[in-house]
Symmetry: C2
Subunit: 762 residues, 2 copies
């Protein structure tokens, strides 16, 4: 079934296809590239007149949309923040013998497209029979991770037969629109262009004014078009575009190529008045290198990333391609260089969900970055939230509540999404922010953040929870009404078990941490507060069902018409594309792990029997229509010895986009959930656990795999884990370490190899 949605061939390091697919949007999503600073969908340089989605996005450049629909209510945000489609700097028009090159109109004799995951090079080649000529085209591009302001595009055309009268125009244009614009509004206004042929052509634009005191971002892009032949250029400029055009005649056997270097700076880093000079300086440096020289540097830089992060899977190239694609896209979105940035759910690959920052970062990305990058990267993510503490307090105040409420969707820390059932109610996110502080501290062993900034954040989050609970006189317990749990297929429920659990945990962790570090932090918590918080912890109500032996997702969940997903006609899946929202909300079907998410977070607190009963109860009703879901199920299934289920869940997370499982990859990639395949392998298959200051593993090998291997950073050490018929731990660097393998303690000094335990037959 899923293979019908697969566009690219299986290859361990590449996405390759010889097909020009009908669904250009899907093809564009999958061939997105980015460098943390900017990124774009796999749009064709020469343009494409068929249905597609032209999209370039710049990190941290957004617009507050004032559009209001429905009946506005107190506490709703003032604006709806959206990532905006930025200038198209790939733009070029190639005309040969008066025919414009456009693959929507011309059918290529051969077509090849390839995304190289080793270095982020996107290339494409095709041959066209044109009037009086047969011409071969090659396009290559990458976004530099060594100079993030730089984009490199290299195009070659070769006349195989006949003669070609070539007109070639290369442009920078901000005459672009958002896919999600309601009124075809343009988000850019012109500031300056230059194309006099003396300086390199550039375009400076600014986001249109807004009424919310949000920065108008100014962006300058400058290009150099280096043709392989000396040609005379014509320059043209319009308010929102600048272009350079050449014309020439090519005979059979002749070629013409263009290296287009684009340097782009934004007012996030460079003041508008200095942008042209800065771009020119960067461009001058770039011009010292050829495309291939720059590519060599790019490959070397990516190699360093892969040395630490690569996960190798032997015997299953589908799985191999999946995890590498995910890691590639994740690092293309965020590699921790800038603490003002975060990880948008679609990264640079689309506009859905408005870009910005979600709790996905803390819940799903932090564990990966902790293991696959230096601790500073994760600390940047923590500091991102620390720096936004004043805004989080503002958000709580908007709801009439004490403390701090971290936003559901944000660019600045201020909530900027406006569905009450999400933003007001999906408050468990506030717990995930606290959990990330715990996670960092526990994983790295570095208590310095917790003991200072961390506690400031925790204290305000705890205050929020203490104000958000209410005491039910009838039940004599503390309750949390009106929430949406991780399962967004229910809204506005009472006593979501996950939320209640997380809230009480935050209060306890804050009390405990404050008792340890009250002297080192600027946070101040009164004795009265500490006593009251303890009362809430002790009096918290947790819905459970003794007969079933499970935690109940929320108060009335068991009154629903309960049935397994397997009772549904598969034609109804995914539900969100076939059922009305009303039907989904009333159904028992779970979008993503909810009770199980809590059991995953606090694994040590529950017995294996409790885990088993809850997994057996909830898993059959879970449709995994959030991309964040399968990984958590994979980890728990692995722990419960349900290897087949764990592998199924791994596949779903690893190839979610490559096989378009949820039929929505055309809108963009599921960037934040791409950590899921890594979590499934490392925390699932390898059963890595890090609680209680001990690194533990209990790996199994999926039966169709010959082996898998990965590396992790852990407390100033670099370790390699190799799982095949035996399990090998190697300490590549750092001091010797106590580890646990299958619950037996070992001292790891250099290498440790033990045989895979034989499986008990069920």
């Amino acid at each position: 079934m899923e293979h019908l949605n697969r566009l690219f061939d299986i290859h361990p390091w590449k996405l390759k296809t010889t097909q020009l697919h009908k669904d250009m949007r899907l093809q564009e999503s999958l061939t997105s590239i980015g460098n943390g600073y900017m990124g774009m969908r796999g749009n064709f340089e020469e343009g494409y007149s068929g249905d597609h989605h032209q999209g370039t996005y710049l990190a941290g450049v957004w617009y507050p949309d004032k559009t209001r629909v429905g009946w506005w209510k107190n506490g709703y945000p003032d604006y709806f923040g959206k990532v905006i489609n930025a200038l198209n700097f790939l733009a070029m028009t190639i005309t040969i013998n008066d025919t414009e090159i456009d693959l929507a109109k011309l059918t290529p004799k051969s077509f090849n497209q390839e995304l190289d995951l080793k270095n982020g090079l996107l290339s494409r080649s095709f041959t066209l029979n044109l009037p009086e000529a047969t011409v071969a085209f090659t396009f290559r591009r990458f976004l530099s991770i060594t100079t993030q302001e730089a984009a490199w595009i290299d195009v070659n055309l070769a006349v195989l037969d006949g003669r070609a009268s070539v007109k070639w125009r290369s442009a920078l244009t901000s005459d672009v629109q958002n896919e999600d614009s309601n009124y075809n509004e343009h988000f850019w206004e012109p500031i300056a262009t230059s194309s006099n042929g003396e300086t390199s052509p550039y375009l400076q634009v600014r986001t249109i004014p807004n009424q919310f005191d949000i920065e108008q971002f100014t962006v300058t892009a400058m290009m150099d078009n280096e043709f392989s032949t000396q040609l005379t250029s014509d320059y043209t400029q319009a308010p929102l575009a600048v272009s350079e055009e050449v014309a020439t005649e090519l005979k059979q056997g002749e070629q013409l190529s263009l290296t287009k270097r684009v340097l782009l700076v934004t007012s996030r880093d460079v003041a508008p008045s200095e942008q042209v000079a800065k771009a020119a300086t960067l461009l001058a440096t770039a011009k010292k290198e050829t495309f291939d020289e720059a590519l060599t540097q790019q490959t070397a830089a990516w190699q360093k990333r892969w040395e630490l992060a690569d996960v190798q899977i032997a015997g299953d190239d589908e799985a191999q391609q999946g995890i590498r694609f995910n890691l590639f896209q994740l690092f293309s979105t965020y590699y921790g260089e800038d603490e003002r940035l975060n990880i948008g759910p679609k990264g640079f690959t689309g506009e859905k969900y408005g870009g910005a920052t979600y709790w996905d970062t803390e819940a799903y990305a932090v564990p990966l970055y902790l293991a696959l990058a230096k601790p500073e990267v994760t600390k940047n993510l923590l500091n991102y939230r620390y720096n936004q503490l004043p805004q989080a307090k503002h958000n709580a105040r908007q709801q009439g509540l004490a403390g701090a409420l971290y936003p559901m969707v944000t660019f600045t820390g201020i909530e900027c999404h406006n569905e009450w059932e999400i933003t007001f109610e999906e408050i468990h996110r506030n717990g995930a922010i606290a959990y990330a502080i715990y996670n960092y501290t526990n994983y790295t062993g570095d208590t310095s953040y917790l003991a200072t900034h961390g506690l400031e954040v925790l204290a305000e989050i705890a205050r929020f929870w203490a104000d958000r609970v209410h005491f039910s006189k009838r039940k004599g317990q503390y309750m949390i009404h009106g929430v949406t749990g991780p399962n967004e297929y229910e809204n506005n429920v009472n006593n979501n078990w996950y939320t209640n659990t997380l809230a009480a945990w935050v209060l306890q962790y804050t009390i405990d941490s404050y008792q340890k570090y009250r002297d080192s932090t600027q946070a101040r918590i009164s004795d009265e507060e500490l006593v009251h918080w303890q009362e809430i912890i002790d009096g918290m109500y947790y819905p459970k069902d003794d007969e079933l032996g499970i935690f109940v997702q929320h108060d009335t969940f068991l009154d629903k018409d309960l049935m397994p997903v397997t009772d549904l006609d598969t034609a109804e899946l995914p539900l969100n594309q076939h059922w009305s929202w009303d039907k989904i909300l009333r159904s028992c079907f779970i979008k993503q792990a909810d009770v199980l998410q809590g059991i995953y977070f606090f694994g040590d607190a529950y017995s294996i029997e409790e885990k088993q009963r809850n997994f057996d109860f909830y898993e059959p009703m879970t449709v995994h229509e959030s991309s964040l879901s399968p990984s958590i199920h994979a980890v728990l299934a692995a722990e419960l010895g349900l290897e087949e289920k764990a592998v199924e869940m791994y596949q779903r997370t690893a190839r979610l986009d490559l096989d378009n499982y949820n039929n929505d990859t055309q809108d963009g990639l599921h960037i934040t959930s791409m950590t899921g395949s890594w979590l499934a392998i490392v925390q699932g298959f390898a059963q890595m656990k890090t609680t209680e200051n001990t690194l533990r593993f209990a790996p199994f090998l999926p039966k169709n795999w010959q082996g898998y291997a990965f590396r992790i950073n852990y407390r100033n050490r670099l370790l390699a884990i190799d799982v095949n018929k035996q399990v090998t731990l190697t300490l590549i660097s750092g001091d010797p370490l106590d580890v646990s393998l299958y619950e037996k303690p070992y001292k790891l000094a250099t290498t440790l190899t033990i045989p895979m335990p034989t499986k008990e037959e069920d």
Copy 2:
């Protein structure tokens, strides 16, 4: 407290003030006039440059707004229907000695404004000290109820002192915007204008195109400007405006007046190509009358309405003014002439709630129109829904459900509001549509509608309910999850008692009616359905609390932090202007009668003790922030002998807008809840009941009133009820009738007078 918000003096038949208020929006709302065909806010003819809300609206002329915010989901309507601000035909500019007359800039020496409720004449006069002149101005206008296409405006200016160089421009302009437009979009495009001075100046405009196959409405307005002195006119035209201008010199003691007749037709009634001719014909007729002659006809026509509908209150002019204002505004909005129209919550007085049709009509307006107009008027309201049955089936299908779901907000029968918690969940409205059929049948005794069309509607509504319930295996009962009850201060609750009660009632009423009238209706209900529906009725779950002896609003209501409104700081009221939506949803406070609404609908089914316990439990938590709430509480309080509470609730509903209780009248009047004051007097104070084919009364007289009197249509009879120290029933026309007074039977042939029973002391 509330008197601070009172703009107009107390008077039994008028709204009068000598103040030009700071809050022009409030003043404009309260001086709105309408004639069922068109209407407008109390905008000043000569314009007003200060903050205000220019608004003219045409019945049934609207636009489908495609704006989408948030994350669209299946089942959401395609568009958000909105009433659109139509052409301003009052428009005029008066310049005297180069000073433009604008009360935002000039301070009048004297100011008088008056709305005469007897005939709908809005008049205003003031005197201004201008450069070199003192001038007195008088403006009068009304919208004709005898020729609904006609608006009459009469203006006089008199030079009291000095000399006046007058320029006077009178215009029709469609260069208007909606207050609620997000992008300052214009909804009108020009078709034609003419101002050549040969034919009368006219303006023809059309609503801009839309993508939803919704009619583009074409409107033509034609004006005649008759000045008291023969003057030469200059005509100007722009795409969206046409105007006529004169200039003259006036000396001390001289006057100049203008009678402006405007005739307006829309494509709802007249094809665009015939509109100019039609308007010209209507205008020619209008020109045969003077303003005062037309006003005499208008007064006579209103007098006929008042003869039947007037409620007289002796000894309390505040109360008297309140109910007359409400009846005036109701009839200005709807008097049943056109079965394609309905009663928008703001009528012609504002844009909030998008105009259109709500369940308010069936629940709150039908009882009034049944009693105060001919049965045909209510039948038109029933036919409105009957004619939209196919659209209601479409709405159900949008939610994946069987049968018919009448919309929450609509212009055509298709749902056009997009908040899921309202439109998908506030499905109790579907019960109100059925209840209106019962109400009509029970009140009029006319079973013919029920026996034919009514059953077709009932069968489809019943099918909806039968599909919308689910069977909870755990409880062994039928439940309705995921609803919003009448109390919109809770959303997405389970087993709202009111909704469950209403759903089961609809099923039962449909079964019973089908058994009586299966041979006369085209509706077909299978035996299988009838059996299944009976199972649902018998197995329906109703939340209740035996200890408290009450029906529980919904499953977890009693877990809330319950407290009376009196525990709140009054500075926090109204909650919707001071609390976040999150806090409101989690609170126990009730926006409008919910359980009590059900007890009101089905009064015969509950004992007085049950009513008392539920009233005592819910009333203290009810904030009445829906204007539909106090009347229901007034009726029940009266039944329970809580006279003080009944009177308090009456005052709140009767003077809701006049005293701006909810601090939102500036957005427009609460048209559909204006029936509440009549319900409070007739069903409350007079305890009129009509169940079981008997007309019953048990009046009490509020202690500050000397008496009250009203008339009703009832089963081909006209009755007068007069309550003072005694109760007098008079049969004005029709056959003798069995009635019940204080639960004793009487035969009413001409007049029946009995003394008011002495009250028992509590």
